[in-house]
């Protein structure tokens, strides 16, 4: 299957116009020593019907969430996506465009990003949001770099209750800059203000996820106090659905809010493409990484949108840029904008409320199972962390046998938590499904 339109006559006419005899003549400046003198060793090309069948066979080898009921979460969620989202995303004026370098013919992309920034600012309760980052993990890392740039301090403090993927990526980025990453230990699944106060001395920032990786509410007021008391920035990591019902990072005093936007209308897709977001207080505007869209007007006074504050960016500043990031996650930000617009405040609250209600139905039920208990105490939402006397592998096998996906084995990321597992509930999970899960959990032998 090829997408080049040329006929043999086309090629001949074009070569004649150029003034050469063959296409090979156009490659005559490639030295013999670097030429590949054999065909690439790849499978032969296929027609569209053949390639469709091949990919269909590969996809059929996977167990997907249309056939299996998912209780997996931990940073990627099986949420309901209205039909309109997929329909709009397939408008090829959106998805076959590049970064909006020519604003006169890119107002669609630009206005959508402007609306995205507005929605993120409303959700986080902060002053300014940028146009998006690769994912939640890189957003956390970029936020840490921002804090380093702002404070000049080289220590990054992160709560161990932050998503392990995020902490892992943070360490990679920090090492590149020669920054030190210090983890605040778990105290009943959370960060303690005393620990944060100690660790934050001379730190650029304190990074806390709320609700945290285990679904627990952190004591954000005292943690913000501890961070600020040490002169460190407070970076809040938040799930956008949780922001529909919980007090905002802006309200509890965070300087920066970042997170993973996948929950806003983006398919789980085995982990990507996803959507990182970042919002900050006004004073950090010029330290933001990546694209920012602003409103302006043309000479006739017609409103329009442009990429702005570009003097922070790599194509202008080169090695002095705030980040090397070039694009954003344009189409994913568009998905989030469409999703949030469709659901509106009531729908978004309902997605959060139904998930929390379901998580508690599961948590309450699990506590009644012998050999099983809540892993931690205190308020929780979305995720349910459980301790079990059974092998987590056996739980996974039993759930799979019953047509369900889950749980996540927490020991994989927390060696100090053997026999702990994480289950997640979204608004898609019915009371019936949760009761079936409880029956499966009940049946696993300790």
């Amino acid at each position: 299957m090829r997408f080049s339109p040329h006929t043999a006559d086309d090629r001949r006419a074009m070569l004649r116009q150029i003034g050469v005899d063959s296409v090979e003549d156009l490659f005559s400046d490639l030295p013999a020593s670097v030429r590949l003198e054999r065909p690439l060793n790849l499978p032969q090309g296929l027609s569209e019907s053949e390639v469709a069948a091949l990919l269909g066979e590969l996809a059929a080898k996977d167990l997907d969430m249309q056939q299996y009921v998912s209780f997996l979460g931990g940073g990627s969620y099986d949420r309901y996506i209205p039909s309109v989202v997929g329909e709009m995303l397939r408008r090829s004026e959106f998805y076959t465009a590049y970064t909006p370098y020519q604003p006169e013919i890119s107002q669609g992309t630009l206005q959508a990003i402007f609306e995205f920034q507005s929605l993120i600012a409303a959700l986080t309760g902060l002053d300014i949001a940028q146009a998006s980052l690769y994912d939640g993990a890189t957003a956390v890392a970029e936020a840490a770099m921002l804090a380093w740039g702002q404070t000049g301090r080289k220590r990054i403090v992160v709560a161990r209750s932050v998503d392990p993927q995020y902490r892992s990526v943070l360490r990679t980025y920090a090492h590149g800059h020669g920054l030190e990453v210090v983890e605040v230990p778990l105290r009943d699944g959370r960060a303690a203000a005393d620990d944060v106060a100690t660790a934050a001395a001379d730190a650029a920032c304190v990074i806390v996820q709320h609700p945290n990786f285990f679904g627990l509410l952190e004591d954000v007021d005292s943690l913000v106090g501890a961070a600020h008391g040490a002169g460190a920035l407070y970076i809040a990591v938040a799930d956008p659905i949780s922001l529909a019902v919980l007090r905002t990072p802006g309200a509890y005093g965070a300087d920066v809010a970042v997170g993973e936007g996948q929950a806003l209308g983006i398919a789980p897709s085995f982990g990507g493409p996803y959507l990182g977001f970042m919002a900050v207080r006004q004073e950090y505007l010029r330290r933001l990484p990546g694209r920012i869209v602003g409103e302006t007007a043309d000479h006739e006074g017609r409103r329009g949108y442009v990429l702005t504050f570009q003097t922070r960016e790599q194509h202008i500043r080169r090695e002095k840029a705030t980040s090397n990031i070039c694009t954003n996650q344009g189409l994913m930000a568009l998905a989030a904008t469409i999703y949030t617009t469709l659901l509106g405040p009531h729908g978004l609250r309902q997605a959060a409320a139904l998930s929390i209600e379901g998580a508690h139905l599961l948590g309450d039920g699990a506590q009644g199972i012998s050999g099983m208990d809540m892993a931690f105490t205190g308020p929780y939402a979305f995720e349910v962390a459980l301790r079990t006397g059974a092998k987590v592998g056996d739980v996974q096998a039993a759930m799979l046998g019953a047509g369900m996906l889950g749980p996540l084995d927490l020991e994989r990321f927390y060696p100090e938590l053997p026999g702990h597992m994480l289950l997640s509930v979204t608004e898609k999970r019915t009371a019936g499904e949760i009761k079936r899960l409880l029956a499966v959990l009940q049946g696993v032998e300790a």
């Binding site: 080049s4 086309d10 070569l15 150029i18 005559s28 296929l46 569209e48 990919l55 590969l58 996809a59 996977d62 167990l63 209205p82 309109v84 397939r90 090829s92 959106f94 998805y95 465009a97 970064t99 013919i105 890119s106 992309t109 206005q111 507005s118 994912d135 993990a137 890189t138 990526v169 990679t172 590149g176 509410l217 019902v245 919980l246 789980p268 085995f270 982990g271 990507g272 493409p273 505007l285 602003g294 043309d298 949108y305 702005t308 790599q314 194509h315 840029a321 090397n324 070039c326 694009t327 996650q329 344009g330 994913m332 904008t337 617009t341 469709l342 509106g344 978004l348 409320a353 996906l405």
Partner: protein
């Protein structure tokens, strides 16, 4: 067009979720619950019209010709969109067990293998989310390699003056000092200057080949030798791989590390600025530094391997922009080895064809056989005599429904205009674009003011970028 905030009417909305009443106070402390949520409320029809309206104020490859240099805006096959949305790919969770995702893992393993073959590398990571992210991965590998050898004095990364801005920004982000090497009079790296700049402090050289002028650096083997001779590594920015697919491989040119842009060379859509994917390939001696996890195969079963003590670590959540990987895999399977080589043939043919049609109307800073793209500038009598600049010509192109070329890049060419037609365009489209460009040059001589005030046909005219900075309005809130 109105914004969603201006469309807002309290009480509007559609029931997407069960409307059962939930009292959150039963589960959460009341003080933690948010009381207001100032988001717009629209009916579904309003929302559909709003976003359809936005799409109509956009220009994509499906709208028309998009010769944006260095971005490779080729046609995005629709079958790729279908395969990426198969439930077995789109509806699978990153934490579901390996045994339940063998199809996805097989696809990734085969794609790793295919990209290694295409680039002449030995091992590939699919994790980086974009080209710039691939660059950062590559440069962190450079750093890890020297660190493990105890080679701590290597603090510099050499970058040509024609390089993409991401190259120096990336090197700085990995803690390196950036050293610029000039171009020679033929548009390639000034080899003598490079020799003088290379030392035991050199960690790596970052290079694009063909470079941003569309010129293939014939002395590439010598360049690689200079760097290797001083113990440095040579990094290939894969932005321009489309030009040499199946003809020449970075691995055979002497490069140690390469990043690819699947959204350029392998036809995955640019999405209005992401998501892309920027896999990184390395030679054998660097494989141990690749990000984790990599996909491995044993006895026909596929695994995610984290067993890499010298790995630079993880570059993002999970395994990569998987949905983008599915599209690129579909493309590679559809084209096969001959199809991919033909991509380069026609990309280069098309660039040379357009150049042959406009060369009399423009200035060529480097008159050589270009590869997949070329750089020209408007004639001096226009720029100096009439004050008509490259930007004006670009804006006037908008009136004829063409996306303009990349302008003012590379930085080493004054008033640069960088044209990359790609292989998927017809001879007629190319000729029509060339004729329009020439016509604008002629028009600018007779009526410079009209060109300088272009575009005249778009939904908005040139926008006041200074005002956007001086009176920033970066968001809207309900109620103004």
């Amino acid at each position: 067009m109105k914004t969603i905030f201006e469309e807002h009417q309290p009480g509007r909305g559609t029931e997407y979720l069960p409307s059962r009443e939930v009292d959150l106070r039963a589960f959460l402390p009341e003080a933690e619950i948010r009381s207001e949520l100032p988001l717009p409320e629209l009916s579904e029809v309003q929302a559909v019209r709003h976003f359809t309206g936005l799409s109509r104020r956009n220009y994509g490859v499906d709208t028309g010709f998009y010769p944006l240099g260095s971005c490779t805006m080729k046609y995005n096959p629709k079958i790729n969109e279908d395969t990426a949305r198969l439930p077995g790919f789109a509806q699978i969770h990153p934490y579901q067990g390996e045994a339940t995702a063998q199809g996805a893992l097989q696809l990734m393993w085969e794609l790793q293998r295919d990209l290694a073959e295409i680039t002449g590398m030995d091992a590939v990571s699919l994790q980086p989310a974009a080209g710039a992210h691939g660059e950062l991965t590559g440069i962190l590998i450079v750093r890890a390699y020297h660190e493990l050898r105890g080679d701590k004095a290597r603090t510099q990364v050499i970058v040509p003056d024609s390089a993409h801005g991401t190259n120096p920004a990336t090197a700085a982000m990995a803690g390196f000092e950036v050293v610029h090497v000039p171009s020679d009079e033929r548009g390639g790296v000034d080899v003598e200057a490079l020799r003088a700049l290379t030392s035991e402090k050199t960690a790596a050289l970052m290079l694009t080949n063909p470079n941003t002028l569309g010129v293939f650096d014939e002395r590439i083997a010598e360049i690689a030798e200079i760097i290797h001779g001083q113990g440095g590594l040579v990094y290939y920015d894969g932005a321009n791989l489309n030009a040499v697919l199946g003809h020449s491989r970075p691995g055979d040119m002497g490069f140690d590390i390469v990043h690819l842009n699947l959204h350029k060379t392998f036809s995955t859509p640019h999405g209005g600025g992401g998501p892309g994917a920027g896999p990184v390939g390395v030679k054998r001696h660097l494989a141990e530094f690749l990000p984790v996890p990599v996909v491995t195969q044993q006895d026909g079963r596929y695994h995610l391997s984290y067993d890499a003590p010298h790995s630079i670590g993880q570059m993002r959540s999970f395994y990569g922009n998987f949905g983008v990987l599915v599209r690129a895999y579909t493309y590679i399977r559809a084209l096969g080895p001959e199809g991919l080589r033909e991509v380069a043939d026609d990309a280069v043919l098309n660039a040379n064809y357009v150049l042959s049609l406009i060369r009399d109307h423009f200035v060529l800073p480097f008159d050589r056989i270009p590869k997949h793209e070329f750089v020209v500038a408007p004639p001096d009598d226009l720029v100096r005599g009439k004050g008509v600049k490259t930007l004006d010509i670009a804006k006037r192109l908008l009136d004829f429904d063409f996306h303009p070329p990349t302008v003012y890049f590379p930085l080493i060419v004054h008033e640069a205009m960088m044209v990359e037609p790609t292989e998927t365009e017809t001879k007629e489209t190319l000729a029509s674009f060339a004729g329009t460009l020439n016509g604008i040059v002629d028009e600018a001589r007779e009526n410079p003011e009209y060109v300088k005030t272009a575009p005249h046909q778009t939904v908005v005219g040139r926008l006041d970028e200074a005002r956007a900075v001086k009176q920033p309005k970066l968001l809207e809130r309900l109620g103004g």
